[in-house]
Amino acid sequence: MIRPLCLFLAVTSAAVALSEERVDFNRDIRPILTKHCTTCHGGVKEAGKISFIYREKALAPGKSGKIPIVPGKPAESEMLRRLRSDDPDEVMPKPKQEPPLPAADIALIERWIAQGAEWQNHWSFVPPKESAVATISNEKWPSAPLDRYILQRLDREKLKPSPEAAPAEWLRRVSFDLTGLPPLPEDLTAYQDAVVKDPAAARAAVVDRLLGSPHFGERWAAVWLDLARYSDTFGYEKDPERDIWPFRDWVIRAFNADMPYDEFTIEQLAGDLLPNATADQRLATAFHRNTQTNTEGGTDDEEYRLAAVIDRTSTTWTTWQATTFGCVQCHSHPYDPIEHDEFYQFLAFFNSSEDCDLDEDFPHMKVPDDPAKAAEASRLEIQLSVLREQLNADGHALAESTTDWRPFTPDAFAPSHGTLAMSADGTIRSQGTLPRRCIQKVIGPALTFTAVRLKILPENDDPKKWPERGSLVSKFQVNLIDPAGASTPVAMKEVFVDHLGDFFEPGPNGNVGGFPKLEGPRWSVFVPANKIEPAPGSRLEISLAHSAETAGSQAVPVRRFAIDVSNRPEWTTLITDPQRAATWKSRGEMAGQYGAIKGTMVPVMIQRAARETRVFARGNRLAKENVVTPGVPKLLAGNAPKSGMTRLDMARWIASPSNPLTARVMVNRLWGELFGIGIVQTAEDFGTSGTPPSHPELLDHLALRFENQYHWSVKSMLREIVLSSTYRQSHRATKELINRDPNNRLLARGPRNRLSAEMVRDQALAVAGLLSPKMHGPPVYPPQPDGVWSSVYSGAKWKTSQGEDRYRRGIYTYSKRTSGFPGFLMFDSPSRDLCSARRIVSNTPLQALVTLNDPAHIEAAQSFAKRMAAAGAELPAQLAFGITLATQQAPSPATLAELTALHAAATADYQQTPAESAKLGETPAAAALVLVANTILNLDSAFNR
């Protein structure tokens, strides 16, 4: 059914039913409800108006008027009666759908109701609490508190921990786990020497060296970039390039600097809103600009803007809260107490950023080529925007306080296309086919004015139907026609608008309205340098010209508008104020300085005037319902502000110690990376539909330790785990142990995990001596077969990198969404279309083809063979060097004999086929050694850590 019970975690309800022990809702009752009841009586369906998601609903009368659960009174509880009914029309579950509940389960429910039917929140929604481990069988075994929890469980299962791993085994494991790279031969020798003298000190020294390595950040950033759905392209059809690699470098630097996880969280979710946000804090918000942008011709920008906003919402919940929040987009959560509206309240945090699915990927921040200029560029960028806001604010206030607006009433209409006419409501409407270059011209009796206001209106006045197709006036032109018919243009000096933050910068000549969508009425006030006083009998001709278009040559014409004028002298006074001119001038100079800084434009989050957020009926954006304001679900709100929350408040709420999920989810992720499987296996789902933790007390202990002892330091947390006795066990598994615990959930042995996609490549390059240590910068193009990239309407080409960029670590490889790097995809790296919390490890023949035949792996084998050849005069020494280099294990005589025989056979073969031999090496023996090197790199022990 829905909730798979884990072999080790299932508590036999029958045992509880027989005893007099108190029934525990989460342990005993919730699993029964989830398995048998909530599909029909849950968050989606409330059959008979009954739901077992909330206690108050389960205790309230259903449609029949009967009460499912009456606390303390099993006999009056309709639920029990229906569970035990013999009447096929009454019994639950319905006989057609499911067999009856086991009698033991019903007895358990009865006792629970008799005991008062106490409800508990699902375990992960309750704050973690420390539970001490009193007695364990071997006080000497633990080297960290976490070991006590593992041993306590092993004691209960009557299992013993495995012996400690050999130094080389632990060193390989910890080196890959912390840096993603194998240890160097000298690291192995040094450690093997040191461990004899003082094992604890030797281990600690290794771990400190690895945590201090710049490669630490590269290895752990790979984990985070799966969650961030980081990619070097936009996604969707044309999938063009996106320059967002500075964010990847930010993540690497943050891990290397051991940025506390709470800060790491806040900066990525809302770094732009922090007081005096630094360039790096703003760059961090590119996390949520890794959403896809759809540039396909004819797509609706609002549809894909919302897709990005919804993705931000779901990704935030998967990444930080391991909650399947996406369910709530269409209806209340089927199993967990989260309501439909709450999805949209949370979505509202992300609904007011400037980005709107434009081909330009607007808005950006500049990341200067010269890092020394980063602070200056960011300061200028913010200052330019602050000054622009200030300059607009004066006119905005004036417009709001102006009461003498008089309508301009045209009596002649001259549209270039379609029709133009006054409508009954006093607005001017345009209909018909309105192509991109259309001009709408209206003429009427001239008025005296100091300012002209243009109101661009939606065709429909119902906000639920908004937004509409865009409505952007590219050029706004007013002409004065004297009684003799001579036309003089009125030069506008400034424009003020209702709000800034649109893609097109409004100016005195136009660029006002809504683009790419008209989200509601918009206004702009155009102010000429002097009051306009037309001679009697003059006429005003106002034209609205259009030239903007959305993806696929779609025009954005104005379809309904109104014009009025003001005579207040304050307008002229305002725009002729010398102080104002000075501000414009200094802003202009600032823009010049900013423009002179060379750099990469990186998409980031920038807040604009709030968009209204409405609930979508069944998740359908075209069926809008009530308005909601930003907020977090009641279930987890804790001490979050009750109203007026900003995105920054939300980020702080996630990063707060009172959030029951954040720390648990992160320590579980770290644990899963090290042990191959999390304490909660479903790292992406801590809710009722996820799997329960194998060691709930351990998870809580680690979460509290991460927050309190280590103040969210990832490095400290990892240090403790990799030095623990649990992690240091040998991975060797006896047959008996495998039968008991095939997936090593109890951890009576050490982990043995396959290398990740990036590690497979990095190891081959490292062993070959080819790996470039160069960090950061634009993505690189290691060799890839021809023809893999072939996106439609895209001229993008894979330009194989030359020099050291050919040999960079995997994390720097160009990541294209619609066409991933084949060697990585085959080793389970995700496409990065969406947030991915776990890579499910597969084991396929296509993987074997990659590591056996990929020219990059053959190049590595050739280089590796040369290193082997240089390592000793005789073949056995060369082979021993090679095997140790690739696996850290000294070869057995049998292994050496096997590879020696392979080498001999291959040498003999190559002596007969000199042309073939020459393709791999200079001599037959050298070519044979390449084949041996290729074989060593394909050893199972080279695929595991």
Partner: protein, 496 residues
Amino acid sequence: MHPDHFARLQHSHLEHLTRRHFLSKCSTGLGAMWLAGATGRAWGTSTALKKDPANPLASASPHFAAKAKRVIYLHMAGAPSQHELFDYKPELQKLNGQDCPQEFLAGKQFAFIQGIPKMLGPQYPFKQYGQSGAWLSDRLPHFSTMVDDVCFIKSMYTDQFNHGPAQLLVHTGTQNLGAPSIGAWATYGLGTENQNLPGFIVLTSGGKNPDAGKSVWGSGYLPSVYQGVQCRSQGEPVLYLDNPPGISRDLRRRSLDSLDRLNQQIAEDTGDAETVTRIAQYEMAYRMQMSATDAFDLKQESPATHEMYGTQPGKESFANNCLLARRLAERGVRYIQLFHWGWDSHGASASEALNKGFMDRCKEVDQPMTALLKDLKQRGLLDDTLVVWGGEFGRTPMLENRGGGVNAFIGRDHNPGAFTVWMAGGGAKPGISYGETDPIGYASMIDKVSLHDLHGTMMHLMGFDHEKLTYLSNGAPQRLTNITKPGTKVITGVLA
């Protein structure tokens, strides 16, 4: 347990004595570890199917007896016009050149049409063909000879009007990214009959990937082993299939023998069941090198066959891919997905115009797709091979007026309201036309078929109750027929 996994290995001629000994020992010793580990760490939590992680593509039985053992899906990316191929509307001809009435425009969203377009009649003459009297335009002369084997569904509709999302909906049941493709579901449910070839193979022509990228053959939330493998009719058919220069097949065999023996020792030492699997995967890779090379070698075909398909070995073409599809079907590949490209007949350029490029597209597909049906039929394969042909949406009965202007050529805009899909073989009813559109071919009217209905029907033909082939993801048992869009029905009217 997976006794057939090991049995298969044992039956391979390429098997060496030492390996055979080891693996047979495994089936009672190390191999037995899988029994306990069958719900192993690699596989998350599956709601309905128990898969053997050591052999996730093992051939498996469906819910009930299947009519279709394999599927060949011919996707015409860009969305071919039903008005110029299958859906004959004399009424539309009468309206040709008139302004589109307001009632056809109200509340509609178009990709490119703006304002008030003109109506556009069918651009090619139609006639009835075969015993079944199927209507076809004159653009498909070869295909007209096979219509009695074909089941036309004229009343398809979708809710997506942009190529990328619409193609995702066609192949994954949702317009959003992240869901598995039909082929992934098919191989998850049925495994594959030939372990020496990928179970789900994709072939593209036209030098382009589909608009939605590789996600249309992705595995979504299913394990990645079920994703489609894109093969090529030029160069190596499967990426990295060929041994590198300087390593002959004999030397590869010799090195794999050493590797197997060394890995056996590692498996004994560590007790790691994944190591046992890895040994088997390397053997499978070795056999795949030969099998795939053989399967993709079109030179083996007779001149008569080449003439029938219009194929030229070594070229990337839809014709070559059709012939390859038959060869792969013969070899037990479960799901074969072909993409042809260039059907987006807007009229904005010559290559995408009903009066230009469209004619070329028709020529490119007419002969080979007909040959594929004939060839499958004459080999007795059509009975249990379901062939599906279609685009991602239909086209408007209006002339496109991009951005409110006049296009250089004749074309039609995207229309999610109606399009035609045809099926043949594999339990689809031959010689019928199912469903109808309105008198101008604008919207499905009678016996409407959604893409989810099509999926449910395909699943049914493959032997599955579409509501029961599920996989737990995002907190719910997900399925091809999108749990958020209830109401999917199997179209019994198209079942033979």
